[in-house]
Amino acid sequence: MIRRSCLGVLVTGCLVMPVFGQISLTGAGATFPYAMYSKWFDDYHKLHPNIQINYQSIGSGGGIRQVTEGTVDFGASDGPMTDDQLKGFREKRGCDVLHFPTVLGAVVPIYNIPGVTADLDFTPEALVGIFLGKITKWNDPVLTKLNPKVKLPGSDIIVVHRSDGSGTTYVWSDYLSKVSDEWKTRVGKNTALNWPVGLGGKGNEGVSGQVKQSPNSIGYVELTYAAQNKMSFGRVRNSSGAFVKASLASVTAAAAGVQMPDDFRVSITNPSGKTAYPICSFTWLLIPEEIVDKQKSGVITDFLRWMLGPGQKLTEALEFAPLPKAVVTKEEKAIAKVHSKA
């Protein structure tokens, strides 16, 4: 009796499981745009109830690895794939991988100085000096000259950086490498670095928590994170000489001033443009050029078109900067490259 009912449940379960017409895709990668992707995939599912897109934010490195292995249908990364990684993808999967920028992010310097509530101004040299450990006190002449109206204490600067590998670190170090040869040779740019000085915090939360707890400290976090947590952050001087505070407008301005290559792999740190914020970056979806399953290929191209249209309108509510129009137009043309094995 029991055996028969168990068998019955098993058979019914097997019949019920495949829901007819259900298409499901999986993606993995960057943590920074997770909030945005989460909303997008959810809204897209509401529009197309038979399509389910699952996204796991395991980190950009993981996203690149998994899409190369083919365990996920698409990847996501805060930093573009390197030439070696592209070659590896081509060798493993037999086709190219395409980069599609989705939103813009920025990295801002946060600080905690007792008694200082004003926005501090930083030049690239000041930031490099602090993070290399050369500028050790808040009342260093470099900093006092930049902020004459602020009373900076004579205490030691406590530097806080990321202990985990992250796209935020990549963007920050990419900017510092561009503005300083010493940083470029001594430290370089990567998701994880050999930091000359400083304490490590895990995640944006770790860095901001450490900065909040340590008086006279400075760190860096994503703009989205700082905005959502209402943190005060400093202004950075851009290549035109203006001190710009990161905002959705100044971030979009940074992207607009850059010549976008055909493969969309570009760094937009330290761009030209009077209102541009200098420490910004795109974040990309990594889509294989050739997708075996015809249905999945159709879903991906349709989603990309939706993302570039109605999707872009949803970004500002979540404190992400939308893509500039020129980039959107260029991407819409590039979607045609995605095809299925005929």
Binding site: I58, G59, S60, G61, G62, I64, R65, Q85, D156, I158, S163, D164, G165, S166, V187, G188, K189, N190, T191, A192, L193, N194, W195, G198, L199, G200, G201, K202, G206, G209, Q210, Q213, S214
Partner: protein
């Protein structure tokens, strides 16, 4: 057993079948599979660690355990800062937790009333079940401020001349990690030591008391030495946990990949760096270096366990004499 009278001896096949039916052979086979599976998993683990770290081992060789540079950009990896942090935080946490744990275990087994002893033991064993992330949070929000405002200033005023207490204190440090670890491993020491102390035969205690020893002399000079092997076992169990502890350590250790002599300076540990950097490790060499760190931790654990066994054996031999 068959009750029918048999004239001829039963053939082997049906003897085996009979044993099988009786369950003995089955039980033997099943339990053998269970034991073998654990051994198999361990072998697979070591093989995976060995195979996964081949790139890094080939490039750095023995230099890996002598180099203190950890540079993912230049792909130059060395394990010294992490080995240092792991060993230092574990040893200091033992230094803090062993006296407290042993003292508590002695109190609970020898001095306390049975009702109080059982209640307190239950609470202490609950502590062992708390997830390590909670300890990490406790460390950041409760422990670090206390250390910063009360403990470290006092320590510095008295022992500040020692190099291990030199330098500024930022809250997150090897000392904070050691203190959090000691809170985590104390329940292990207490519960196992208490069991072992309770298991000491009453005759031993009575013999000592009858010779005129005080309560404390009995405990310290008779009961504890008798139970010493079990106590060492509990200490090494606690040490094993401390060596591998990841989340609680990574939240309070400071994540600075440098070797510094002061306990008040931030540091890093093997488990902490693997947990932090494995996800975003993009290049094969990077992943291989992290896996090699895992292999190094495995080796450290085996060495320490080996020493523990040796110590227990020699202590046992001495007591037997």
């Amino acid at each position: 057993m068959s009750t029918a009278p048999s004239v001829l001896p039963r053939p082997r096949a049906s003897q085996f079948a009979a044993k099988l039916r009786a369950g003995d052979q089955l039980a033997y086979t099943l339990t053998l599979i269970c034991a073998a599976s654990i051994f198999l998993v361990t072998c697979l683990l070591v093989y995976q660690l060995w195979a996964g770290s081949v790139l890094s081992r080939q490039k750095f060789g023995w230099n890996f355990i002598f180099s203190s540079t950890w540079d993912p950009v230049k792909e130059d990896y060395g394990g010294v800062p992490f080995m240092f942090g792991t060993v230092v935080t574990s040893l200091v946490s033992l230094l803090i937790s062993v006296p407290i744990g042993l003292g508590a275990a002695i109190f609970l087994s020898e001095m306390a009333l049975p009702g109080i002893s059982d209640a307190l033991t239950f609470l202490i064993e609950l502590l062992a079940a708390v997830p390590s992330v909670i300890y990490g949070l406790l460390g950041i929000f409760l422990l670090v401020p206390v250390l910063e405002s009360v403990v470290v200033p006092a320590l510095k005023s008295v022992l500040g001349f020692l190099p291990i207490f030199a330098g500024p204190f930022y809250g997150v440090s090897l000392l904070s990690a050691s203190v959090v670890l000691s809170i985590m491993i104390v329940p292990f020491i207490i519960s196992v030591s208490r069991e072992v102390l309770l298991a000491v035969p009453v005759d031993q205690r009575e013999a000592a008391l009858s010779l005129g020893a005080t309560r404390w002399e009995t405990t310290w000079q008779v009961v504890v030495p008798y139970a010493s092997r079990g106590i060492y076992g509990s200490i090494f169990l606690a040490l094993a946990r401390a060596l591998g502890e990841t989340m609680a350590v990574t939240m309070v250790v400071g994540n600075t990949s440098k070797v510094q002599t002061s306990l008040l300076a931030p540091g890093n540990s093997i488990a902490s760096v693997i947990a932090n950097q494995f996800n975003e490790a993009t290049s094969d060499m990077y992943i291989s270096a992290l896996i090699e760190l895992g292999l190094v931790l495995f080796a450290i654990t085996i060495i320490i366990n080996g020493l523990a066994r040796l110590m227990i054996l020699t202590t046992g031999a001495r007591i037997a004499k």
